[in-house]
C-alpha cells in the first residue's frame, strides 16, 4: 500500500494531467450543454499543456538564462542547473492553438444559438428532426 502511495506521489504531475484529461473528456462526452462541452475541451487542452510544462522542470533548476553570457562565454554551461526550455516554448504555440480553437468554437456556438434558439444538445436535435 505504501509502495503504491509512494509510486503515485513520485509522479504526481502525470497523475494531475491524467485526472484533468479525464475530466475534460467526461465534459465533452457526457454534458448536454454545448458550452459545457467547450469548457471540457479547454480543460482537455490545458491538461496537455500542463503535462508538457511539468516535464521541462527539474528539481532545483533555474530559468534557462545565462547570467554572464556576454562576457563569460567560455564558462561551461551546466545543463542540469537549468529547466528545459523546449517543452515550454512548444506550449506557447499550443496555447495559441488552444485559444484560437476556443475562439472558433465560441463563435460557432453563438451562431448555433441564433439558428436553433438553444445550446442544449437534445433540444437542438429535436429541432433538426422536425
Amino acid at each position: 500500500m505504501e509502495d503504491l502511495l509512494a509510486y503515485i506521489i513520485s509522479r504526481y504531475n502525470y497523475w494531475a494531467a491524467i485526472i484533468l484529461l479525464l475530466i475534460g473528456l467526461y465534459g465533452m462526452i457526457a454534458k448536454n450543454n454545448l458550452l459545457k462541452k467547450v469548457i471540457g475541451m479547454t480543460i482537455f487542452q490545458a491538461a496537455i499543456i500542463l503535462f508538457y510544462v511539468s516535464i521541462g522542470d527539474k528539481r532545483g533548476a533555474t530559468i534557462p538564462i545565462l547570467a554572464h553570457g556576454h562576457d563569460g562565454a567560455h564558462q561551461a554551461v551546466e545543463a542540469a542547473a537549468y529547466a528545459n526550455p523546449l517543452p515550454h516554448v512548444l506550449m506557447l504555440t499550443a496555447i495559441v492553438v488552444g485559444v484560437s480553437t476556443l475562439g472558433v468554437a465560441l463563435a460557432i456556438l453563438q451562431k448555433i444559438y441564433r439558428v436553433h434558439g438553444t445550446i442544449e444538445e437534445d433540444e437542438i436535435l429535436e429541432t433538426i428532426d422536425q
Binding site: 484529461l21 473528456l25 465533452m28 454545448l34 462541452k37 475541451m41 482537455f44 487542452q45 496537455i48 503535462f51 508538457y52 516535464i55 523546449l86 517543452p87 512548444l90 504555440t93 499550443a94 492553438v97 484560437s100 480553437t101 472558433v104 468554437a105 460557432i108 456556438l109 451562431k111 448555433i112 439558428v115 436553433h116 437542438i124 433538426i128
Partner: protein, 503 residues
C-alpha cells in the same frame, strides 16, 4: 540556388496569398479570386519542380530544407522525399482545380464576404501543404491545427444545420489533435527529439524498444490520427459536417483533409516508429486490418442507405479511409504501395465526383438522388465526367482506382488476409450498385424541364454548368486516366523509393 527554395515556396505562396487576400481582396470583386488562383498556381508549379527534382535524385535521398538555415538539432527542417513530393503535388493540384472551380459557386454562396472565404481557403491549403512537407512531429501538430481551424470556419459557412455539424467536428478534431500532441509529448520525454529523421534510431535503440512509454505514444498518436481521418468507428463527425458544407468547401475538404491524415499516419509508421517496431513490438497489424475491413464494409453499407448524393459520397470516403489504413497495416510492399498510390488516386476520384455533383447542384439547386433525373441530356459533359469518376471509384481499368485496388488486393493476398480482400471486393460491388443506380436515374428516369412536359428528345434544352466549373472537372477526369495509365512509372519512380529497404 533558386531550385532549392522551391520547398518553402510551396507553403509560403498560399500563406502569403491568404494574407494578401484578407488585406486587398475586399477592394475589387474579382481580385480575391485572381489572387487565390495565382498563389495556388505558384505553389503548384513549385510542387511540380520539386517532384521532378526529387524523382531525379530518388535513389540518393530526400531533399532537406532548413528554415532560416538553422541545421536540424536547433532548427526546423522541411524534408521532401518521393512519398510526400507525390502527396504535395496532389494537394496543390487539386486545390488549384477547386480554386478555379469556385469562381461562380463561391460568389453565389458568399455574396458579401468572398475575400474572407478565400482567405480561409488559402490558409487551409497552406496548412495541408505544411503538414505534408514538415520533418518535425510537433510542427505537424501545429499545421494540422491551422488547417483544421480554417476547415472549421469553412465548413460552418454551409447550409441548414452546418453550425451544429461543425461544432461536433470541432470537438472531435480537437480530441484527435490533442491525443496526437500527448503522444508526441511521450516521445519527447523518452527520446529528447522531435525530428522525424532522428526519432527512429532512438526508438529502436536497445534501451527504448521495450519501453511502455513509447508504446503509449504510438497508441495515442495513432488514435489521434484515426479520429482526424475519420477511421471507423471514429468517423461519426464526417458525414454530417461534409454534407452540410457549401459545395466548393466540400470539394476542397473532402478529397484533401482525410488523405493528409492518412499520409501522416504512413509517415509516422514508416519514418518515426519503423515497420519492424510496429509489426514485432506492437503486433497489432492483423487487428487493425480487420478494423479497416470493417470500416470498408460499414462505409459502403452506410453509402447504400443514403438518399442524398453528397452524403453518399461522404460514406464512400469513410470506406476509402479503410482501404488506405488496411493497406498500410498489411505490412508488405504491395499493401503499402497500394495505400500510398490510393492517397493520390482517391484524392483525384473524390475531387472529380464532388465537383461533378457540385455542378449538378449548381444547376438544379438540389443534391438528392432526384437531382440526377435527365442529367445525361441536360448536362451531357458533366454527366460524362461524373461517369469517369464513378468508374474510377468502382475500380474499372484504366482508371487509377483500378490500380490502387489491384495493389491493395495483391497485398491482402500476400499477407494472407482474406477478410480484407473480401471487404475490398464487396465494396467495389456496392460502389457499382451505387453508381449504376445513379446512372439509371440520370439516363432513364422521366424528368421535367421547367414547365415543358417530357415529350421526347426534341424538347430537352442542354443547360451545362459554366466553363470555369467544367474545365477543372475535365482536368480531374483526364488526370484519373493519366495517373492510371502511368501507374508503373509512379510506382517504380517514386513510391518504390519511399518504402523501407528490404520489404
Amino acid at each position: 540556388m533558386s531550385l532549392e527554395q522551391h520547398a518553402i515556396i510551396i507553403i509560403l505562396a498560399p500563406l502569403v496569398g491568404s494574407l494578401l487576400i484578407s488585406l486587398f481582396g475586399g477592394l475589387h470583386r474579382r481580385l480575391s479570386y485572381l489572387l487565390l488562383v495565382a498563389c495556388l498556381g505558384i505553389s503548384f508549379a513549385s510542387t511540380i519542380a520539386t517532384l521532378r527534382l526529387v524523382a531525379a535524385r530518388a535513389a540518393i535521398g530526400p531533399l532537406h530544407y532548413y528554415l532560416g538555415d538553422w541545421p536540424p538539432p536547433y532548427g526546423i527542417e522541411l524534408v521532401i522525399d518521393p512519398l510526400n513530393a507525390l502527396v504535395l503535388t496532389m494537394i496543390a493540384g487539386i486545390s488549384l482545380l477547386v480554386a478555379i472551380y469556385s469562381k461562380e459557386m463561391a460568389r453565389r454562396d458568399n455574396p458579401d464576404r468572398l475575400h474572407h472565404y478565400y482567405t480561409l481557403f488559402a490558409l487551409l491549403v497552406a496548412g495541408l501543404l505544411g503538414i505534408t512537407a514538415s520533418g518535425d512531429v510537433f510542427n505537424i501538430y501545429v499545421l494540422t491545427e491551422i488547417s483544421a481551424l480554417a476547415s472549421y470556419a469553412l465548413l460552418a459557412r454551409g447550409r441548414g444545420f452546418a453550425y451544429y455539424a461543425t461544432f461536433k467536428y470541432i470537438i472531435m478534431g480537437t480530441i484527435g489533435a490533442s491525443l496526437y500532441l500527448l503522444g508526441v509529448g511521450y516521445l519527447y520525454i523518452k527520446t529528447g527529439t522531435l525530428n522525424i529523421a532522428e526519432l527512429p534510431t532512438f526508438i529502436n535503440s536497445s534501451g527504448l524498444v521495450d519501453s511502455v512509454s513509447i508504446r503509449v505514444a504510438f497508441i495515442l498518436i495513432m488514435v489521434g490520427l484515426w479520429i482526424k481521418m475519420a477511421f471507423f468507428p471514429l468517423h461519426g463527425w464526417l458525414p454530417n459536417a461534409y454534407t452540410r458544407a457549401a459545395t466548393t468547401t466540400s470539394c476542397l475538404v473532402a478529397p484533401l483533409m482525410t488523405k493528409v491524415s492518412v499520409y501522416v499516419m504512413i509517415r509516422v509508421m514508416l519514418g518515426v516508429f519503423t515497420l519492424p517496431y510496429i509489426y514485432h513490438v506492437m503486433g497489432w497489424n492483423r487487428a487493425v486490418v480487420w478494423l479497416a475491413s470493417l470500416a470498408i464494409v460499414a462505409g459502403s453499407i452506410g453509402a447504400l442507405a443514403q438518399t442524398n448524393i453528397k452524403r453518399m459520397l461522404t460514406y464512400i470516403i469513410v470506406a476509402e479511409v479503410g482501404y488506405m489504413v488496411g493497406g498500410a497495416w498489411l505490412g508488405n510492399a504491395a499493401g503499402l504501395t497500394g495505400a500510398i498510390y490510393h492517397i493520390v488516386s482517391d484524392g483525384l476520384m473524390t475531387a472529380c465526383l464532388f465537383m461533378a455533383v457540385g455542378a449538378i447542384t449548381y444547376k438544379t439547386g438540389d443534391s438528392s438522388l432526384e437531382a440526377m433525373r435527365g442529367v445525361f441530356r441536360r448536362m451531357p459533359v458533366t454527366a460524362a465526367l461524373f461517369v469517369v469518376g464513378a468508374l474510377a471509384m468502382i475500380g474499372i481499368p484504366p482508371t487509377c482506382g483500378f490500380f490502387s485496388k489491384w495493389y491493395l488486393i495483391q497485398g491482402g493476398l500476400v499477407a494472407g488476409h482474406y477478410g480484407f480482400v473480401g471487404a475490398l471486393l464487396l465494396s467495389s460491388l456496392i460502389n457499382a450498385v451505387l453508381f449504376f443506380r445513379l446512372f439509371e436515374i440520370g439516363y432513364y428516369a422521366p424528368f421535367d424541364t421547367e414547365g415543358t412536359p417530357p415529350r421526347g428528345h426534341g424538347t430537352t434544352v442542354v443547360d451545362e454548368a459554366p466553363f470555369s466549373m467544367l474545365m477543372p472537372l475535365l482536368i480531374s477526369a483526364v488526370m484519373i486516366i493519366v495517373v492510371g495509365l502511368s501507374t508503373s512509372r509512379i510506382v517504380s519512380g517514386l513510391i518504390q523509393y519511399s518504402l523501407p529497404a528490404g520489404l
